[in-house]
């Protein structure tokens, strides 16, 4: 009947006979007549693979954005992905398997995720890491909830320099569960407002969530913040860019208690926002409060090393309403992607990615300041691979006009000023492309401004 269903009429008849049913209708006996659908579904198809190919290729072509030279970041980056990554992910052994419920028949998934957890923990400078969350933003929200489980205060503070999308996700999760979010504003210099922070901490809180580097790319030492938060009895939750961690002091070293982040930059295609992969690492003593799956090392009957899902009593299928989270299916294949990517790039490769992102973004900013009269950086602090630039024209209008010239110039951040554009250059952006961006921005700003 279709290319995905093997049994044919004669076989179905024989099967129905075997179970003593006269026809398929007999099997529907438990369904009241009133709920049975008495018509065919109103759906398109069926289409052959060749027609499907034509239709999908046509739709893909209308996604003109995929061909624009990308200077947008904001939590999703246009990185180079070695071909070997997809070779491994395309193994049906990995991508068609279920959650590793039968450990002895799932050592491939289990060991690779154990390796993933190890890499994430080392990158974050933490003792443990879990097997992945849906994305960075939901990982941050789950970290906030985790902090509440640990500290039992119903309020979590969030730095105003956090990615606004992430802030909305944290708000949604916490609001609906009956908890409170306090936003700590930043001052004109781009720094967290110390007084506001002090004041908010006074009121009692379980954790402060801070991004590192922050949404605007700024890098501040986390250590003083960690000390302050700890001295007030809270946990420090750091939302980190994993690429930055190859270059910057690890949050663990600075005193963070929980580190979360978005793994997209580690080998995952942009794909209009998903599937991505949230990571979460923490101090070991918090293990039992952690949401999500954890893979642990153990031995088999013969003493050989093997891996299993562990601390399952935290999870919904065992603990039900007392579970540390409702997460079940996570982003395992994306976590494997991160793992393989990090293994391929390795110690020096990932450092080099970080270095090039840093250098290329700095060069981009420099060239824009050279080319575009009246352009300025919004803040004057050290930044990593993302920068807010103030242009002499509406950020949104400039972005749109630049798209016509083949560039996605960045993300408008009107909150920082009408002309503010957040931009980022990865290792993929060549000098030519960067120069092209800067040289096109100048006339575009003039056009748009008038």
């Amino acid at each position: 009947m279709t290319r995905y269903i093997p049994n044919q009429d004669d076989q179905r008849r024989r099967m129905l006979e075997r179970m003593g049913a006269g026809s398929f209708e007999d099997l529907l006996a438990p369904l009241p007549q009133e709920v049975r659908l008495d018509r065919e579904l109103d759906l398109p198809g069926p289409v052959s693979e060749l027609s499907l190919h034509r239709q999908m290729a046509g739709l893909a072509r209308t996604n003109t954005g995929s061909e624009k030279v990308c200077f947008a970041g904001g939590g999703a980056y246009d990185h180079f992905i070695p071909a070997a990554v997809d070779h491994i992910l395309s193994r049906s052994e990995f991508y068609t398997a279920y959650t590793p419920y039968q450990a002895e028949a799932s050592q491939g998934t289990l060991q690779s995720i154990f390796e993933y957890q190890t890499m994430v923990a080392r990158l974050c400078g933490m003792e443990i890491a879990n097997a992945s969350m849906y994305d960075g933003a939901s990982a941050a929200a789950e970290a906030a909830l985790m902090a509440i489980r640990v500290k039992r205060k119903d309020r979590v503070l969030v730095a105003g320099t956090l990615n606004p999308r992430w802030l909305r996700v944290i708000r949604t999760y916490l609001d609906r569960a009956g908890f409170f979010v306090g936003e700590v504003p930043f001052d004109d210099g781009g720094r967290l407002d110390e007084d506001a922070l002090e004041a908010q901490m006074e009121d009692g809180f379980s954790a402060l969530v801070v991004q590192y580097p922050d949404y605007f790319g700024q890098v501040f030492d986390l250590q003083p913040l960690a000390e302050k938060v700890h001295s007030r009895g809270g946990l420090l939750v750091v939302a980190a860019d994993p690429v930055a961690l190859a270059m910057l002091k690890s949050p663990g070293e600075c005193g963070a208690d929980i580190v979360v982040g978005e793994g997209q930059s580690l080998g995952i295609p942009l794909c209009y926002g998903g599937p991505y992969c949230g990571f979460m690492a923490s101090r070991k003593k918090l293990a039992r409060k952690m949401p999500g799956r954890l893979i642990g090392k153990t031995v088999d009957r013969a003493g050989e090393t093997g891996y299993v899902m562990t601390l399952q009593t935290r999870e919904q299928h065992i603990r039900r309403e007392k579970a540390t989270s409702n997460i079940c299916t996570n982003q395992a294949l994306s976590a494997l992607t991160n793992c393989v990517y990090m293994a391929l790039l390795g110690e020096t490769g990932l450092r080099e990615v970080a270095r090039q992102c840093y250098q290329r973004t700095h060069y981009t900013v420099r060239r824009i300041l050279e080319e575009v009269e009246g352009a300025a950086v919004v803040f004057d602090n050290p930044f990593f691979r993302e920068a807010a630039v103030l242009l002499p024209a509406s950020g949104e209008a400039v972005r749109d006009a630049m798209l016509d010239r083949g560039y996605l110039a960045g993300i408008p951040v009107p909150g920082l000023g009408e002309g503010a554009l957040l931009l980022s250059a990865t290792e993929k952006r060549t000098r030519e492309e960067i120069d092209g961006l800067a040289e096109n921005l100048a006339p575009v700003c003039r056009e748009v401004a008038t």
Partner: protein, 492 residues
């Protein structure tokens, strides 16, 4: 030929100086990073150093330690382990789709928006609902979304006190966990002797505190809730809404629709019913479909079609309860599900469910020769639950049977769920298994039942053919080790 036992980790294969991927030279003038002094990482990160060949060999070798759907039957109940069409993987990798930055304005992403919109409409048609959100990343996040939608409506209606979620004792663990995450309380309903919702109990517990009933239909025993119209009526009359956990939708497509049964909202698992791969545990996608009453509360973002035929993402405003992910959702997964619906067409989609139901009933008939089938009063839907109770009494637990199946080259069913069946073996063959494959699986199960009677150690010692033998889960908890230990070199 394959080496069994301990395998080195990728860290064991590392040697300083090896590289697996090189970048082009930096071709821009360098800034010296002195502004970052004191902020820089010192000492190694601890990532492995291997060549591309070593890396590939390591993970390919690891992959061969997995059972998977292209090896054989994978009858995990409640998981719908069907075949994942190959071309749909190709589609999701087309640069036009996977190269899109999520901050691109709508005009640059029309193809993807069109697909998201049309997929929503398809899923609405299949479930019989008005509106669909593709935002949730998995079933559990779909549940949370559905409950948040209900909660938002109730708040708007001034019914803040309704904070109880009723659910049968056979419910999947995510149901109670999601209810709590949505800030609600769980009230368990008992199942009756048929394995269905006990109407008496429901009538008793539904009341002014009821926010919702969460029901899986067919339920986790694989049985259709025959009283469904009565059930939804009771809850509605009590002022609550009814949530359907649609994990088992593979039983119903083209046959019956939740929207026509009185449900108000349901989630689907694209990674089950709609053939997208499970990926060893994700990523999935858990769209939520609901009535027009609940629609305004669905989360951001949503895709609408304008009068000019263009598609637009709505990411702010209205009554949406918020958002659960930074971006639109697991878009790549949605692409595959869209392709699946197109590939199948309306007849094919119904035929999926028909064949899923036939396959399950056939297997049930074969297995009932040796295994107890509780609640077996008539046809099941796409899955059924057997009990290993008889075998347990003979000395081999359901866990042993599961492990032994691996030696027979089959994956095991879901075990010990639902909780209301002793030594449960929850079996879902799916429509993509052939009758030959079902026969072989039944033969393995029956043969194991004989082994339990005559040579039980074969079963209790299993598995013996897997890369590792039975693993010690207790020790994994006691000596918790979730990351490879590392002697971090001292900083100079």
């Amino acid at each position: 030929m394959m080496l069994k036992g301990t395998l080195p980790t990728i860290f064991d294969r590392s040697h300083p100086g090896r590289e697996g991927a090189a970048l082009p030279e930096l071709d821009v003038p360098e800034t010296d990073a002195e502004e970052l002094e004191g902020l820089l990482r010192e000492g190694p990160i601890g990532l492995p150093e291997v060549t591309e060949g070593q890396c590939t060999r390591h993970y390919v070798t690891l992959s061969c330690r997995n059972y998977h759907i292209e090896q054989g039957i994978y009858p995990l109940g409640s998981c719908t382990m069907k075949y994942n069409p190959k071309f749909h993987e190709t589609i999701a990798r087309l640069p036009g789709f996977c190269g899109l930055h999520p901050e691109l304005p709508d005009r640059e992403v029309q193809g993807t928006l069109e697909i998201l919109r049309r997929l929503s409409e398809m899923l609405g048609e299949i479930t019989g609902f008005e509106a669909v959100s593709l935002h949730p990343a998995a079933g559990a996040q779909g549940e949370l979304t559905g409950l948040m939608v209900i909660k938002s409506l109730l708040e708007d209606l001034g019914e803040k006190d309704r904070d109880e979620v009723l659910m049968p004792d056979s419910a999947h663990g995510t149901n109670p966990a999601s209810a709590v995450l949505a800030g609600m309380k769980v009230v368990n309903l008992s199942s009756d002797s048929r394995g269905l919702v006990d109407l008496e109990d429901l009538r008793e517990k539904a009341g002014p505190k009821t926010a919702a009933l969460m029901l899986t239909n067919p339920n986790t025993l694989g049985l259709f809730e025959s009283d469904i119209l009565e059930i939804t009526r009771i809850v509605h009359e009590a002022g609550g809404r009814v949530y359907m956990d649609g994990a088992n939708m593979n039983a119903l497509m083209g046959i019956a629709r939740p929207g026509d049964m009185g449900f108000d909202v349901c989630h689907l698992n694209l990674h089950k019913t709609f053939s997208t791969p499970h990926g060893g545990g994700g990523p999935g996608s858990g769209p939520v479909a609901c009535t027009s009453e609940l629609a305004p509360y669905l989360p951001h973002p949503r895709v609408v079609r304008d009068d000019d035929g263009g598609y637009r993402l709505i990411d702010r405003g209205g009554q949406a309860f918020g958002r659960l992910l930074a971006f639109a959702g697991n878009v790549g997964v949605c692409l595959k599900a869209f392709a699946y619906v197109l590939s199948m067409g309306p007849e094919g989609i119904r035929s999926v469910s028909e064949n899923a139901v036939i396959n399950a009933n056939y297997l049930k008939a074969l297995l009932s020769q040796k295994y107890e089938i509780p609640y077996d009063r008539g046809p099941c839907m796409h899955e059924f639950v057997a009990s290993g109770g008889r075998q347990k009494d003979a000395g081999a637990a359901t866990l042993d049977i599961a492990k032994r199946l691996l030696d027979y080259g089959c994956h095991a069913p879901t075990v010990y769920f639902p909780l209301i069946v002793r030594e449960a073996l929850m079996i879902e063959p799916t429509e993509t298994e052939s009758v030959e494959s079902l026969d072989a699986f039944a033969e393995a199960m029956l043969s194991i039942a004989c082994e339990v009677e005559s040579k039980p150690h074969l079963v209790t010692d299993a598995p013996v053919s897997t890369p590792v033998l039975r693993l010690d889960e207790v020790r994994a908890v006691k000596d918790l080790c979730v990351v490879e230990p590392w002697d971090r070199p001292e900083r100079e």
